[in-house]
Amino acid sequence: MIEWLLSFWQTLLGTFRDVMPIAAIIIGFQVLIIRKPIHQPKKIFIGFFYVLLGIALFLQGLEMALFPIGELMAKQLTAPEFLHIDVSLGNVPWQAYYWVYIFAASIGFATTLAEPALIAVAIKAQEISGGAIHALGLRLAVSVGVAFGIALGAYRIVSGTELYIFIIVGYVIVIIQTFFAPKMIIGLAYDSGGVTTSTVTVPLVTALGLGLASTVPGRNPLLDGFGLIAFASLFPIIAVLGYAQIADWNSRRGQKQSK
């Protein structure tokens, strides 16, 4: 118990240290430039403490529960013995890794749904759109995007295809979608790419990428382990734009029918 409290205290201190620059900038500008007392300082102070405490508990819990088993699973799933592959034969067909793709998609979906930064943006979007955008609907769309992105990224590591080809094709799809999607969603869709990958997703996805790149024959973990995070930030944009597009078509068709 004492050991646990000590390690929690260190996580809390670490979180506090990470937040210091942000707090310093905000307080500095508030005092020196805006020169106006903060509205309801007590409430904001308590809220800020809640945020710190929340992140520290969250990180501590992840490190105890999820990261060890997640990393272990990534290692087990990519092990040649589990996949019944004879690595010494050289070229392994990409289909042999099907459990890895299924795991990549499932864990990408599940961790994105729990990502605090995404929850924050979804709450804000629902608030200012007056409920036209549903927070959970947005989070589900983003999670589907991340699931697809990470599974495709895992396939890329296995097949050894160049990263930039996928990224450039992804960009072209985003640009085409942008011209057809409802204007209201574009900013939010672009933003959803950046918020998906933080506290929960990055460590697990990195473990999966490194596991794959170090077990697939002919891959260099230092060079080929990258790219999963890039995929996880690109495909949610496509998913959210697509989701808005379908919702828009459906409502238009409904309007036509009612006429």
Binding site: I33, I44, L62, E63, G187, V195, L223, A230
Partner: protein, 243 residues
């Protein structure tokens, strides 16, 4: 009683948010890999901590991070000082990124790759200097992104022109950048935005778009995070070319 109820409701909703992770872990570990869970007590206790943490975070979010970001946006808009607003935007982007733990980890890994690829010397000093340079580059990129993003909200430029230009920039840089840096550069876009930065920056953008006449928070308020994940890719590839 009211508060207690709301807290309880949030606790349940956090638990539901985390349920999919638990399911994926259990199903794969027991049915697919067919191995026992290594430490059941740690798993249960850790998950309880995660649920509690998420609940506190969301509670604090609505009480502090959102109001702070929005209040500052309104105050800057009322003060009418574009200069200080832009200085604030840059500092917020730079300051929150330079100390970001995920970025520090990626920068160290990148230094190892650069040393392995013969781009820099394999000494510890050379690696440390390279990692620090990379961190400063990404922080500069994020500061620049928030800076440009705020100008965009004020001027009302359409977001997609800027984002598409960014994409074209990335494609052009990819052609010229050394091969070793491309993977790191692409990933660096995703790791820059932390759990505290995202709500603050989102509230700042939405607040500015609500405070400035003629701007729509839904159309113009979002997009700051999008820039913050685009510019690091371009800046990191440039860093790889210069070093």
């Amino acid at each position: 009683m009211m508060i207690k109820n709301r807290f309880l409701k949030q606790l349940i909703s956090s638990f539901i948010d985390l349920l999919p992770i638990l399911l994926v872990v259990l199903v794969f570990q027991i049915l697919v890999i067919r191995q026992p869970i290594p430490d059941v007590v740690d798993l249960i206790f850790g998950m309880l901590l995660v649920v509690l943490g998420l609940t506190f975070f969301i509670e604090g979010l609505e009480q502090s991070l959102f109001p702070i970001g929005e209040a500052m946006a309104f105050d800057f808009a009322r003060k009418g000082s574009l200069f200080w607003l832009l200085v604030f935007a840059f500092s917020l982007g730079f300051g929150t990124t330079v100390a970001e733990p995920a970025l520090i980890a990626v920068a160290d890994e990148a230094a190892t790759i650069a040393a392995g690829g013969g781009m820099i010397e394999t000494t510890q000093e050379a690696k440390t200097a390279y990692a620090l340079g990379l961190r400063l580059t990404v922080a500069l990129a994020v500061g620049f992104a928030i800076f440009i993003g705020v100008i965009r909200i004020i001027k009302g430029w359409p977001l997609h022109y800027l984002v598409i230009s960014g994409y074209i920039g990335i494609v052009i840089m990819t052609i010229f950048a050394p091969k070793e840096i491309i993977g790191i550069a692409y990933d660096s876009g995703g790791v820059t935005t932390s759990t505290i930065t995202v709500p603050l920056v989102t509230a700042l953008g939405v607040g500015l778009a609500s405070a400035i006449k003629g701007r729509n928070p839904m159309l113009d308020g979002f997009g700051l995070i999008a820039f913050a994940s685009l510019t690091p890719m371009i800046f990191v590839m440039a860093y790889g070319m210069i070093i």
